[in-house]
Symmetry: C2
Subunit: 209 residues, 2 copies
Amino acid sequence: MNSFNSIALPDALQAAGITLILASGSPRRRQLMEGLDIPFKVELTGEVDEIIPAAISPEEAPEYLARLKSAAFRPLTPGETLITADTVVICRGQLLGKPADKAGARRMLQLLSDNRHDVLTGVCLRTTAVVRTFTARTTVFFRPLSAAEIDFYLDHYCPYDKAGAYGVQEWIGFVGIERIEGSYFNVMGLPLHQLYAELQELGIATRGH
Amino acid sequence: MNSFNSIALPDALQAAGITLILASGSPRRRQLMEGLDIPFKVELTGEVDEIIPAAISPEEAPEYLARLKSAAFRPLTPGETLITADTVVICRGQLLGKPADKAGARRMLQLLSDNRHDVLTGVCLRTTAVVRTFTARTTVFFRPLSAAEIDFYLDHYCPYDKAGAYGVQEWIGFVGIERIEGSYFNVMGLPLHQLYAELQELGIATRGH
């Protein structure tokens, strides 16, 4: 199944005509991808109307949106593998995406305070031959956050590009999260070990094989 | 209990004569501390013989060692708060510290492969008036790691300054860890939310209060 050498070097991937493309504007996803030690490039997809049909449940939403982003990308050429992803927060049955404004961010953080929530990332991998999708779930437990702590976070950090209005790798994540169950990297935006396993099956991730 | 303003600025801490000192050579602990948004300085403790008496169980070892590091520090002056910490890995009842060499690191990773283990960090906070210690525990689940994957990690990364011979924020953590239960930052070396809560009780962490 795997046509590469035991350790795939960037040259080996290039020689095999393999290009891995991450279509995401998120600097956190780029940073996480770099940790996999597989060469990739970033190329953004076109605008996507993130409208979720009524028949799609909150749990299905991130995978649906990852597929939508993949479909909005330019046509792929043989050898290209495209990665798209979408992360949402679900708390008490409510689907939380990115907050529109400060008031919305405050409402989200008030909901997450002293509560557990699930972070779901849907991932879509696509080549000219196959489409694979999967969803990863991590449960996150926040301690009670005071109104002053929420305001401090909103005033000094940037919740607006983050599902659920918080970054696990920012102050509020450091001081407010008591525990998680699942993948930490999924909370940051990419479930790395599952993504790596999928890339192995596609013959792209070949470190130590 | 708290004599500071609602948001403690560095100036406010300095004016109150408060100095927070992290006595750790670990760049990861320094990075984590920076995330708390509280001014601190790094000052190393003297050499500590990390010998654990027979009466101390593996679970008690990190807190014992954190106390030992604290005791080896120079005398504190009023207003200074000293943080010391020690992280160990416990797998199948075996206490894993830092590996001595490549063979030792390989043995540790082989033990962790396809297995669960606990990461325990003991923390000691000390002023001229009080000593507080606590231990945080996170459970980590590795998928089966191939011999080639372990060798790739040992050849390309640095396991020697890390308890259990791996960094959760390095390649092997990205691709090999299926899930964790507890604090991610504890696995990196400092249980931030518990440390923050302790600093709040000491009147030092006052963001949003």
